[in-house]
């Protein structure tokens, strides 16, 4: 069996689920960010696979490119927020950031 679209999609689904699980279970805020990166990578992989096996153009690659750019931007802002968070609460535990709880 040759490698086709389905293989990539299942791999991407696996990565996605791992990322999601990391996001839901890690209490370290940076860990949540790592989970987000995994999810984004899964999406990128999907886009590239579709663009190669389904459409045959490079549009998917462009979209993936934008995702990479956005992920970098998002990581930069997130880290800046975490640094502030850490400075204010002296912890990086995401569960402690519940001051706005009703």
């Amino acid at each position: 069996m040759t490698i086709g679209l389905t293989h990539y999609l299942i791999l991407a689904a696996l990565l996605f689920c791992c990322g999601l699980f990391v996001m839901t279970t890690k209490r370290n805020a940076v860990g949540i960010l790592i989970g987000v990166e995994l999810v984004l990578n899964a999406a990128c992989l999907n886009l590239v696979a579709f663009s190669r096996y389904r459409v045959g153009t490079i549009d998917g690659q462009i979209a993936a490119l934008f995702i990479i750019v956005l992920a970098a931007a998002e990581a930069a802002v997130a880290i800046a927020i975490f640094v502030n968070y850490y400075r204010m609460l002296a912890t990086i535990d995401a569960d402690k950031g519940d001051e706005l709880r009703g």
Partner: protein, 733 residues
């Protein structure tokens, strides 16, 4: 890319380089050096412009066409190619030369002027900041001049706006200065809003933002009777609206009625900035834009332009009469002269208007620098009533200023009786009279001077193409303009010399009225050298140098396409030379206007202020209106601020009476109802049930509340659960 284009692009980039240099290491360069860097860059640009101009003059028509290279594809946006290139023609070159030349000397003047000003902010010298902005200003203006696409032009346009904001508000620690900067910027935004909509219409209907391409498509649209011409809005065709909206930008930038209010306030900036804004850059940008989009203006739009110009020049000239601040007089005279240029554009005197722009740039820069010298010499005294007799202390300034006054007043000898019509005069004489002549031609001249082209006039381009059959067929019935468009400007041509001579006389002649000011008055060489150079330039910038160059750039296609017979006639007539009849008629009406104005001013002000003050008392109502600048600031204050307040009041009243009333009513009804239900139903029957419900709600609330714990992870989990449910639904149901 041809040599000339390369020269121009280098010329544009030099001020930019200076800007970058000064922005980063300006503070290290220190006080005089950073100024000289800016001067050097601008002077180098000026030399390049001169070389380019000389080369251009050496080329024949084929060579000129070959010198233009195709624009570079910059980007494709929604299928529309965006191309940038150099718009190479005589107008670009002469404007480029004018901007660089005048700017260079203004920069030199600035080095002297700013040396005497405190420029410390928090104890750190910010001398370089001024020249950083000046360089950026120069760069933006030069970019605007060479832009061949409306988009590039718009980019440069906005850059100019930003620079004017920075420079007008240069003394930003002074409230009035920062306010003036904001006012200039915001007022310009109002105009730019129209401009942007106009650009949108160009994209929508013409699909091409390059100047040449848009003109061509516009012509094509006209021939085909496309939607731009067939569809109307409020009785005017969309093409007219497009032209008028594009012109809105120019209204803001060139301080035309009704957006002229920012320019007098802009006097808060340092005087060299006023000179730069008024002469070479900002206000010129508006006229230049109008010249470039002229081919997109329908006759109605042209009439709009002419009307705006006419109103502007009248208002400004009248207000200038009563101003006592030397810079404000000059500011209003600038607005008035810009009105003349716009009038010229509107009546089809394309060449004359641009010619006037160039001539005006020289003499207005000259006068502003002169006023800067006076203000600097008199310890920042700007009130003319405290000056007087300065000619003894500042001979060079006085004489050069007089040259400017003569030029703006249009001094010349109307030599209509001489064979070959060889007049003599300063730049303003030819340019302003030519605008008036064309206006006259448009108003009265259909049956006049068709073939009477003055002999000996230099004809740059035989316009045989105009006379071909296609053009003749295209040309509809000639339409004449409202005679007011001729008579009001003529009247104001008598007012201009009056207020300019008043200004000069009050400043330099007569007896010193304030000895404190008088004693300190002095000149410094760094500042009067530019004055002398610009005065010489005013002499040279006459008919024989600038006009042929401008005339060579006149957009020929528009003359053939022109939708309006009379406009085409007039344009043709004056493209070669003002028709003999028109000029003769004009000479008898305004030829000696300057003399009348001068004598009147001299009669009133030769003995100082007394006569003038008596007149002011005698004509009190008119005087009051003029002193308040026709109440425009008050009007805008009333309409905009008052309008907002009125809206507040209405909203408040609505709130108080309608909304409150409803609320009170419903409260009343509820109260009665609850009383009824409370007394009859509740106490008897429902209490137990209600308590049960309350307890239930409490429990439910606790349940619902528990997930909202403020933990991101839980939210993610909920979202994931939702996704999982959807996916499972798709997969298995």
């Amino acid at each position: 890319m041809s040599t000339i284009e390369l020269l121009l692009i280098t010329g544009v980039l030099l001020p930019l380089a200076s800007f970058v240099l000064l922005a980063f290491v300006g503070s290290k360069l220190g006080k005089p050096a950073s100024g000289w860097v800016a001067v050097l860059a601008m002077a180098a640009s000026c030399v390049l412009a001169m070389v380019a101009l000389v080369q251009w003059q050496g080329l024949d028509a084929a060579g000129r066409a070959a010198a233009r290279s195709a624009p570079v594809l910059w980007a494709t946006l929604g299928g529309m190619p965006i191309k940038f290139g150099v718009n190479l023609d005589s107008l670009t070159l002469i404007m480029f030369f004018m901007v660089t030349f005048v700017s260079t000397w203004i920069f030199v003047f600035s080095v002297g002027y700013m040396a005497g000003h405190s420029d410390e902010i928090d104890g750190v010298s910010k001398f370089h900041r001024f020249f950083t902005y000046l360089s950026l200003f120069g760069f933006s203006m030069l970019l605007l001049v060479i832009a061949d696409s409306l988009l590039l032009l718009f980019i440069a346009w906005e850059l100019v706006g930003v620079c004017s904001y920075l420079l007008i508000g240069y003394y930003f620690h002074k409230k009035s200065a920062s306010d003036a900067g904001i006012k200039a910027f915001v007022t310009n935004r109002v105009g730019d809003f129209g401009f942007i909509i106009g650009l949108g219409m160009v994209v929508l209907f013409l699909g091409d933002l390059s100047l040449a391409g848009a003109a061509e498509k516009f012509h094509h649209e006209f021939m085909a009777g496309g939607p731009l011409f067939s569809r109307t809005f409020c009785g005017l065709s969309l093409a007219t609206w497009m032209g008028m909206l594009l012109f809105c930008g120019a209204i803001g930038k060139s301080a035309q009625f009704p957006l002229h209010v920012w320019l007098p306030d802009a006097m808060e900036g340092p005087t060299p900035v006023s000179a730069l804004i008024h002469a070479a850059t900002m206000v010129a940008a508006g006229v230049y834009l109008t010249a470039r989009i002229f081919v997109l203006l329908t006759p109605e739009a042209q009439q709009f332009v002419a009307t705006i110009g006419c109103i502007t020049l009248t208002l400004a000239a009248l207000v200038a009469i009563v101003q006592t601040d030397i810079k404000k007089v000059l500011a209003y005279s600038t607005i008035s002269q810009l009105g003349y240029m716009m009038l010229g554009m509107g009546v089809g005197a394309w060449i004359a208007a641009l010619f006037h722009l160039l001539a005006h740039a020289f003499f207005k820069a000259l006068m502003f620098l002169g006023s800067g010298q006076v203000i600097e010499g008199c310890h920042h005294e700007q009130d003319m009533r405290k000056m007087g007799g300065l000619i003894r202390k500042m001979p060079v300034t006085a004489v050069t200023f007089l040259v400017g006054v003569l030029a703006i007043a249009g001094v010349g000898i109307p030599a209509v009786w001489m064979p070959g019509h060889t007049p003599f005069g300063l730049g303003g004489y030819f340019s302003k009279d030519e605008i008036l002549a064309v206006a006259w031609h448009r108003v009265y001249g259909e049956n006049h001077g068709e073939n009477e082209v003055a002999p000996g006039a230099e004809i740059q381009n035989p316009k045989s193409r105009i006379h071909n059959a296609e053009a003749a067929a295209l040309r509809p019935e000639p339409r004449t303009l409202n005679p007011l468009l001729f008579w009001i400007p003529v009247l104001m041509a008598y007012v201009t010399p009056f207020y300019m001579m008043r200004c000069w006389w009050l400043t330099f002649m007569g007896k010193p009225r304030d000895h404190h000011v008088h004693e300190h008055a002095h000149e410094s060489p760094l500042m009067y050298v530019p004055l002398v150079v610009l005065a010489l330039g005013t002499f040279v910038s006459s008919y024989y140098l600038f006009r042929p160059l401008v005339a060579a750039a006149a957009p020929h296609p528009f003359l053939t396409v022109s939708y309006d017979g009379a406009a085409a006639e007039a344009a043709e007539a004056h493209a070669t030379m003002i028709s003999h009849g028109a000029h003769a008629a004009l000479a008898t009406r305004v030829g000696l206007a300057f003399a009348v104005g001068f004598v009147l001013a001299w009669l009133i002000y030769r003995k100082g202020l007394a006569v003038g003050e008596k007149l002011a008392v005698a004509l009190k109502p008119a005087y009051t209106v003029l002193v308040h600048k026709f109440y425009f600031d008050e009007l805008y204050g009333f309409v905009l601020i008052g309008g907002t307040m009125a809206l507040n009041a209405i909203s408040y009243a609505f709130d108080k009476f309608v909304v409150d009333g409803l609320v009170n009513l419903s409260a009343f009804v509820t109260e009665r109802l609850s009383w009824f239900s409370g007394m009859i139903v509740d106490q008897g029957v429902v209490d137990g049930m209600v308590n049960g419900v309350g307890r239930g709600t409490w429990t439910l609330g606790g349940l619902v509340r528990s997930p909202q714990v403020g933990r991101i992870r839980n939210y993610i989990l909920f979202a994931a659960t939702g996704v999982a449910v959807v996916v499972l639904w798709i997969a298995f149901v």
